[in-house]
Chain length 201, copies 2
DNA sequence: TTGCTCCTCACGTCACGTGAGGTGGC
DNA sequence: TTGCTCCTCACGTCACGTGAGGTGGC
């Protein structure tokens, strides 16, 4: 379980040489390494390298030893990409967003396309936020009901007939997670045929 | 681009035979097919089958021809799984949630574990909601600024020096997407060496 | 009998994870 | 010289997508 991005306490953004007053040296040293990018974005070395291979990030240069060096603006780019990925966009969609301006002939064209695409993405985000908010309240309501079961010990209804228990069944609109997790309104875990009628004959 | 879950208008939940008053026949027919599950959950046949293979869904029975038949409670389960996936949980995490109750010796044990796990999931959801909300407002602010560029035609600053344009650069705390997408504060797309100093020597 | 639905392999894909084995730089 | 960081293959994994070729059921 070794963490390749373990959060040590060194400060990669402004190394010691940067405060020496040597501006030329600072211009050389203020680039970010792959590890800096990974740590500062809380992602991984592999992800930074992968995004480089995919043309999503681009190091300004390489050292003689082949080490990637990134400008600080590439960190902002990486952070945006990570958030867009968390929002569910594919790397293809993200590249399309990032390359939007490059493909347009004039600023006006770029702006019109960008406002349309951004509006679409915001709408998708609204849908996603709605789904996750409902899920959140569903899980929260479920937790509240289930909290009432903490004193349940060797009860006759547990585990297959909890829907017959007054603690759990008294809610007229039970959250979905309660139905699924606590077998409320489900025959899934009951004894074979106990809830079936067509077996007798 | 054929859609295997094309939304036709038939009603799989209550087929014609169900309203005939024949309760025995209804008990047979009110099961859901794989296609019903896919349509009603807006997922795909493959996903339903995959979740069956993975032990996340379970058909009550199979027809002689091998067709899966699901109880309605399995649809609620599928809908929950889909939302949990959208929230970023792995199928392993989801199985753990679904099997929580089955593994506990008493109702009290199950309830204590469940409240803890649910609280964790809610907290994760809060973090995810915070990230997506910030992203949403960032994209929205970016769209507002970029909307001001729609009248830009053949401008001297486009496309590499938009950060020198007063329309775009006047914001003291520009949204991150604006910096990344519109090259505000980035040297990425500028002419080679134009923003570099160490080239001369 | 004709469509439409469902079935099982089985290979492909996307976005990385995870070593193996080697080099770089303060 | 010693660690720690970074490098490049290259195979693995997770959650499905995508045909190929065949059967089922009203």
């Amino acid at each position: 379980v070794a963490d390749p991005t373990s959060h040590d306490t060194r400060a990669p953004v402004l190394p010691a040489s940067a405060v020496s007053g040597d501006v030329g040296a600072l211009a050389e040293h203020c680039y970010l390494t792959t590890g800096d990018m990974a740590r500062l974005s809380k992602s991984t070395l592999r992800t930074v390298r992968f995004y480089d291979e995919e043309g999503i990030l681009r190091p300004v240069e390489r050292t003689d030893g082949g080490h990637r060096l990134f400008e600080h603006s590439e960190l902002a780019r990486l952070l945006l990409v990570i958030d867009l990925r968390a929002a569910g966009l594919s790397l293809g969609d993200i590249k399309a967003l990032l390359d939007l301006k490059r493909g347009a002939p004039t600023g006006g064209d770029a702006a019109r396309i960008a406002t349309r695409v951004l509006a679409e993405r915001v709408e998708e985000l609204d849908e996603k936020l709605a789904v996750l908010s409902r899920l959140r309240s569903d899980l929260l309501q479920t937790a509240e009901v289930v909290a009432g079961c903490r004193t349940c010990a060797g009860h006759e209804f547990f585990p297959t007939d909890c829907d017959r228990c007054s603690i759990v069944a008294s809610h007229e609109r039970p959250p979905r997670a309660l139905c699924v997790l606590w077998s409320v309104g489900s025959k899934r875990d009951k004894a074979d045929g106990s809830a079936r009628i067509e077996e007798r004959e």
